[in-house]
């Protein structure tokens, strides 16, 4: 921090920076469009199409799917279901939901790139740095500017996903199979932690990059491994007991908060101005 004395947090300044960023982002098509279309693809199109296919699959195909190494761990909860429900619940309840974690990652990445690199590119950063907002408050505001929309879009997306999935599956299930407790915990507890984890890394990347494009490229190097790890491991989360999901989430939260706190202490307007 550039200020030697520890100053109280200024909630009004933080709120204002967040509001400014959200207003500006809302009016920016290059930012808004990917944040609409990618989630729609993942939340509506994909479950709808795959749900329809799964709904009409034969019992032999279900057995083949359950015996594959990828979903072997999912056999137990699925096998307990009536046979005609198995494929659709497997697909929409266990295999696709981890993709919902891609949404907070993606939204975080897009907004974090805009947070500082975008300000530099638009040449608005200098004026911001000359305002009486502490380095810490500025960092918090920029993290929140990306975190809040990431979480909001994820949660709205999850509700949409649950609706689409239940509608598609209804002819074979005749009941609402989503949400179930682990799925709900993944959305409410783990997705925000994942968003924060990405932001802990990406805000710093954005503060060092000169352009949004550069931030996106550098961010891709950070975000892609996270997506890979997330997508491959998240299905396993849904098989844990509820307290296991909470514990896994707590671990991600601890990691995220630690990362944000660490980067927050290293964040100074001097570095920001120098990188500009």
């Amino acid at each position: 921090m550039s200020t030697g004395t520890r100053v109280k947090m200024d909630p009004q300044a933080i709120r204002t920076v967040v509001r400014k960023d959200l207003t500006a982002v809302r009016r920016s098509k290059p930012i808004v469009l990917p944040m609409i279309f990618v989630p729609i693809l993942l939340i509506v199109v994909l479950p709808f199409v795959l749900g329809l296919i799964a709904r009409t699959s034969s019992s032999q195909e279900v057995q083949n799917a359950l015996s594959s190494s990828v979903v072997r761990d999912l056999t137990e909860p699925i096998a307990a279901l009536p046979e005609r429900e198995q494929m659709v619940v497997l697909t929409l309840g266990y295999l696709l939901p981890p993709l919902l974690l891609v949404i907070p990652l993606m939204v975080s990445a897009v907004l974090a790139a805009d947070a500082f690199a975008g300000e530099k590119e638009r040449r608005t950063l200098e004026a911001l740095l000359h305002l009486p907002i502490s380095d810490r408050d500025l960092f918090v505001a920029k993290v929140l500017s990306a975190f809040l929309p990431a979480v909001a879009i994820t949660w709205i997306g999850a509700v949409l996903y649950a609706v689409v999935s239940n509608v598609v599956a209804w002819p074979v299930t005749g009941r609402l199979f989503l949400p179930f407790s682990q799925w709900t915990l993944m959305i409410l507890w783990i997705a925000p932690a994942v968003a924060l984890l990405a932001l802990g890394l990406l805000v710093v990347v954005s503060s060092r990059a000169r352009t949004t494009q550069e931030a996106n490229q550098l961010g891709g190097a950070v975000i892609l491994p996270l997506i890979f790890v997330g997508a491959t491991q998240a299905s396993a989360l849904l098989l844990l007991p509820w307290w296991g999901v909470i514990a896994a989430g707590a671990l991600i939260w601890a990691l995220s908060l630690g990362l944000v706190a660490f980067n927050g202490t290293r964040f100074t307007r001097d570095r920001l101005a120098t990188a500009a």
Binding site: A13, T16, A127, H130
Partner: protein, 334 residues
Amino acid sequence: MTPAIETVDLTRGFTSGLAVDGVTFSIERGEVLALLGPNGAGKTTTVRLLNGVLRPDRGCARVLGFDPARDGEEVRRRTGVLTENAGLDDRLTTRENLELTARIRGFDRISARRRVDELLEQFGMSERADDLTQGFSTGQRKRVALARALLHDPEVLFLDEPTSGLDPAGTRDVINLIQELAGEGRTIILATHFLGEAGRLAHRMAVLHNGRLRAFGSPRELATGIWQDMAAEIDLGGPASDQILGMLRATEGVVQATASPTGADLRVTGREGLARAVATLVGHEVHVFGAVAHPPTLEDVYFEIERRILAETGDRSHSDGFAHRWLQTGSDPR
């Protein structure tokens, strides 16, 4: 009284080298200081250091009694900055750009709106209040940015190239406005490479070159440090005769006298020398139709300083001791 701004050995480097190198100066409250120098001289870095955006590698500064490196927020609460680029967010309206800044500065919603309305009116931007700033002319952007710098009625203003990109009318408006602000007793640091505006607005000037303070003082003080005499002209209605030239050359304070088509061109040691020359001629019943001194302009001073810097360094690299030897004035605290 505590100076409004003082720096001692202020130094800041980047990977490319020292941007500000051992700068020491002090200015009083209500004073307008022009920071002059070519691009890359260290003007913007100096402003950033004074406003606590950058931390010095060495030395220190005090702005209104606060150390910008330690109490940056306290400094920034009391200063207003017009950055070289207006820095408006094109995705926001004029009003949003100003109101959001006011809110960050601690205004409540109602007083922010009231103050923004006042300033928009003052700067003739009320009709564009609810337009996105995208597409505004440079002049309009500067006006909005200047309004933003004045939102909190700051004691100190840092104006970085306030007229760059403006047309002549816009330049005149901004200069008039800065004159008004200076008249209100604000301390102003004007970083510019436009000598005309510096000459009109500044009480003193600081010439930076490659990050080093090469000269500091009023144009007159600096001119005195450079030249022992100044040009003057006497109108006699026709070329001066040898006899008149002889009288002039014999006058105390006249260094040189040559005939001109309308009278005589002189080099005099100050305005008093010219007054004595006129008195001598009148005493000898010579008709004097006019006499005018031509003290060096700010441009003369600035370019002479630049010329001497280049002559001493041989190139644009740093040199030591140059300014101290010949440009120290009574105003320079060193």
